[in-house]
């Protein structure tokens, strides 16, 4: 264990052990690969990862290689939660309750095609951690919009920017309605918050869900070196608040920016929002001001 020197106030520990290896197939600056690296540092080797079709299915490496030091089960696009439920049942039958099952899927596999399976697993309180790494489009197949794509964003299927009449699906509210064991949003740009949440999810039982914002340099039209900074701006602008379901059943913020920035500054940092008009920007800003505990990105 090494001491964390990020801020001298905290003494959270980060292990030197790596459960995700170099040579994976993620693009330079991929937020999803960095997120996986740290999720596995927290969950440790006693984890089975279940993954549907998504960028990560490619990132993990082609046969016969794998980027993960843990077992990884590839599944069809729609069924991550269902397959993870099956793995959980198999482990329970073998009395291997200590092994964590991690369903790891993109926004397409979560907000859209995988939603029914997630709802079923959540309803049954299946003992798993479901993490959606949200890069805000179907990136693996060439940047098509999903219901997690924020309005205004360019994708190949929304060449003029996604229409403002479609709001980003409120995934936390959907999962919350299932009475989950743990529920939060996070990003690796806020490492302490991120680690704390993965730790809590690990310690809890039942169906646990974490929504991670993960920058995609090519899909967001940003330079690879800026991927963390843009993710940070998403939080600082209130577009992606860091949230958690508290004990009294309310979703609350775990981080409050000291000097919040405007949504305009967040949009300006990315090529995908180039066509957002001034009026739309104002509309977005007012959405944030009205409901500061909802992810609009």
């Amino acid at each position: 264990m090494t001491k964390n020197h990020f801020t001298n106030d905290t003494n959270w520990q980060i292990t030197n052990a790596e459960f995700m290896e170099s040579g994976h197939m993620a693009c330079p600056g991929c937020g999803a690969s960095l997120s996986m690296r740290h999720v596995l540092k927290v969950l440790g080797p006693e984890t089975i990862v279940v993954m549907p079709a998504c960028c990560w299915a490619i990132i993990a490496g082609g046969q016969p290689t794998t980027a993960l030091a843990t077992p990884l089960l590839h599944t069809p696009f729609a069924v991550a939660a269902a397959a993870a439920s099956g793995v959980r049942q198999a482990l329970t039958a073998q009395k291997k309750e200590n092994i964590q099952v991690l369903a790891w899927a993109g926004d397409g596999g979560t907000f859209d095609i995988g939603l029914q399976g997630i709802s079923g697993a959540a309803e049954r309180h299946e003992d798993m951690i479901y993490i959606c790494y949200d890069n805000e489009a179907y990136m693996n197949t060439g940047i098509q919009q999903s219901s997690a794509t924020p309005h205004g964003a360019w994708t190949t299927t929304t060449p003029g920017g996604k229409d403002f009449k479609y709001a980003k699906k409120d995934i936390l509210a959907i999962i919350k309605a299932h009475d989950p064991g743990y529920l939060a949003s996070a990003t690796i740009a806020y490492p302490e918050d991120f680690y704390a949440k993965i730790e809590k999810a690990k310690a809890a039982r039942g169906f646990r869900f974490i929504h991670l914002l993960a920058a995609c340099p090519s899909g967001w039209k940003i330079d690879s070196q800026n991927s963390l900074e843009v993710t940070r701006l998403a939080v600082e602008s209130g577009v992606f608040p860091l949230l958690e379901l508290n004990d009294s059943g309310n979703i609350e913020k775990t981080y409050e920016p000291e000097n919040p920035i405007s949504v305009k500054d967040y949009l300006a940092a990315q090529g995908r929002f180039r066509k957002v008009s001034e009026k739309e920007t104002e509309l977005w800003q007012s959405e944030i001001d009205r409901n500061s505990s909802r992810n609009t990105s």
Partner: protein, 539 residues
């Protein structure tokens, strides 16, 4: 049927041909994808650059923060041999340049230096047993003369200092008052130096210019650091005992002499004016400073002006003394408003006539020698060489003189003394740092004696903080431009292509980039708080 084949293969441990991945992606040389590669490029910190002595500030603070106070002291003393003194009296050029100022508040480098200096008072300097068979004579035991002596003896040169006064220290002893530099501290620091380096110190030895020839013959090198220890008295003032130079008065106060008179008027706006005024106040005298410009334009250190005002000192601004007339016991001074004549200040309209017992000139310093005419024979150092400046600059100048002497002796290669980097690059600025992962923290300021208690005696105004009390302050240093192995780059590398070498020795790099797998995304360069990583085109 196929399924059965798989089951028997797995039972035999033979995975070939099965859709199960058994080897690591590390075999993929993803490093081939990159257009840019990260490189570790340490840079100069602004504090280092601003310090006349170019102290390795960030380096010693690293040791300080790690609790290695002795190691910190050793690094500090390499470039600054009297930190207990400079830690008290230096205006902290370093601190004014500190990048942390733009984030919350400057690092209190002076306090760290002072605490280490005090810690060093009973730690001898590493002595030197080498003898290079060279001798040096040094005139003056102020900071410049002492620094020259230290850096020469470190190189095995035998040194003799000639000092006209009864005790060493120059203006440290006879200029700077005890409430800013307590004499026990001064004595311990200088004694420690004289003993550790086996310097021959001959006090009560004034060197006249006629002796310079003889000294150059007797010694291999002659360094002159006689300072500027006289106050110049404006030529138009009458030559009477009621008019004194500030430095004479400060020297008398330092010697605990009785100071006659009650009412003092001091002319000037520098440290000498304020130190004289504050000292006289402590002796129960009535004091007024008259300065021809505004308070903001006073050359004295801002902290000292503030402290003086707290102590109730009167400063009359934009006024000049146009005429001085002696009437028996008292002096009559005609005060006029200042009038700006371009850069010159002249007497404008009449303001008032005031009386006082003594008029003190603190308007400039001059040399008490005529050595300037003999410059070819000697190496000049300190205030004498560069004009009235500061202790740190005097130390740097003394070190420079030692360097010239060593060069002459052909010893410089063996005993490098200067800490000046050869590269001309500008120091790293706050905008080149990445401070998103830092928290603001109040600075560890020195507690001060309350103003009411100060005027009664010469007790030190700035109180000490212990090494332990300053542990948090040491942690505040950003270590601009220098890797601390904090690991932030390692943390944020999506390709697991950075290793931190926590126990790196000087020669090895603290950061190891795995260029076989680094895709050149550049995030490490973007997050490094200290701006040490740069991306370079990968050809």
């Amino acid at each position: 049927m196929n399924n059965l084949k798989y089951i028997s293969a797995i039972r035999n441990g033979d995975f070939t041909g099965l859709p199960i991945a058994g080897s690591s992606t590390a075999v993929n040389m993803t490093g081939n994808w990159k257009f840019f590669r990260p490189l570790l490029k340490p840079k100069k910190a602004p504090c280092f650059e601003a310090c006349p002595l170019h102290i390795g500030i960030s380096d010693y603070i690293k040791e300080f923060a790690a609790g290695n106070h002795l190691a910190a002291l050793e690094i500090l003393r390499l470039s600054n041999p009297m930190p207990a003194i400079t830690g008290r009296v230096c205006p902290n050029f370093c601190q004014s340049a500190c990048n942390r100022t733009d984030f919350d508040e400057a690092l209190q480098i002076g306090n760290l230096e002072r605490a280490l200096g005090d810690f060093g008072l009973d730690h001898p300097h590493p002595g030197n047993d080498k003898d290079e068979n060279k001798t040096a004579a040094i005139i003056g035991s102020g900071p410049a003369g002492l620094a020259a002596a230290i850096f020469l003896t470190r190189a095995g040169v035998k040194v003799t200092i000639f000092e006209q006064n009864t005790a060493p220290g120059g203006l440290l002893r006879y200029g700077i008052p005890a409430y800013r530099l307590p004499r026990p501290i001064l004595d311990q620091e200088i004694d420690n130096i004289i003993e550790s380096y086996k310097i021959e110190l001959k006090c009560n030895h004034r060197i006249e210019s006629a002796q310079l020839k003889k000294l150059t013959a007797e010694y291999d090198v002659l360094i002159a650091a006689p300072g500027l220890s006289r106050s110049s008295i404006p030529a138009q003032w009458p030559d009477i005992p009621k008019i004194k130079g500030a430095l004479d008065l400060l020297a008398a106060i330092s010697r605990n002499e009785t100071i006659p008179g009650q009412n003092f008027v001091i002319i000037g706006g520098g440290n000498a004016a304020l130190d004289t005024a504050r000292s006289l106040k402590r002796l129960g005298k009535t004091v007024k400073i008259i300065y021809r410009r505004t308070r903001a334009e006073m050359p004295a250190y801002p902290d000292e002006i503030m402290e003086a005002l707290e102590e109730g000192l009167q400063i009359q601004e934009e006024v000049v003394v146009a005429k001085v007339a002696g009437t028996g016991d008292a002096l009559n001074l005609d005060l006029h408003h200042s009038r700006k004549d371009g850069k010159q200040i002249t007497a404008g309209d009449f303001l008032e006539t005031i009386t006082c017992d003594f008029l003190i000139a603190a308007t400039g310093q001059e040399s008490g020698t005529d050595f300037k005419d003999y410059s070819p024979e000697l190496l000049p150092a300190g205030d004498f060489a560069h004009g009235a400046a500061s202790v740190a600059e005097a130390l740097a100048s003394g070190r420079k003189a030692a360097e010239s002497a060593l060069e002459k002796f052909g010893l410089l290669a063996d005993y490098p003394v200067s800490n000046q980097t050869t590269e001309e690059s500008a120091p790293i600025t706050c905008t080149q740092l990445h401070l998103n992962y830092y928290v603001k923290k109040p600075a560890g300021k020195t507690p001060q004696l309350e103003a009411a208690a100060r005027n009664k005696n010469f007790s030190e105004v700035n109180l000490s903080l212990t090494l332990d009390q300053l542990a948090d302050e040491a942690e505040r240093c950003f270590h601009c431009g220098s890797c601390t192995t904090c690991g932030i780059c390692w943390f944020f590398c999506p390709d697991v292509a950075i290793a931190i070498n926590h126990d790196s020795h000087e020669a090895e790099s603290p950061i190891l980039f795995d260029y076989d797998h680094c895709k050149g995304c550049g995030q490490c360069a973007e997050v490094c708080p200290r701006g040490v990583i740069e991306m370079e085109e990968d050809l």
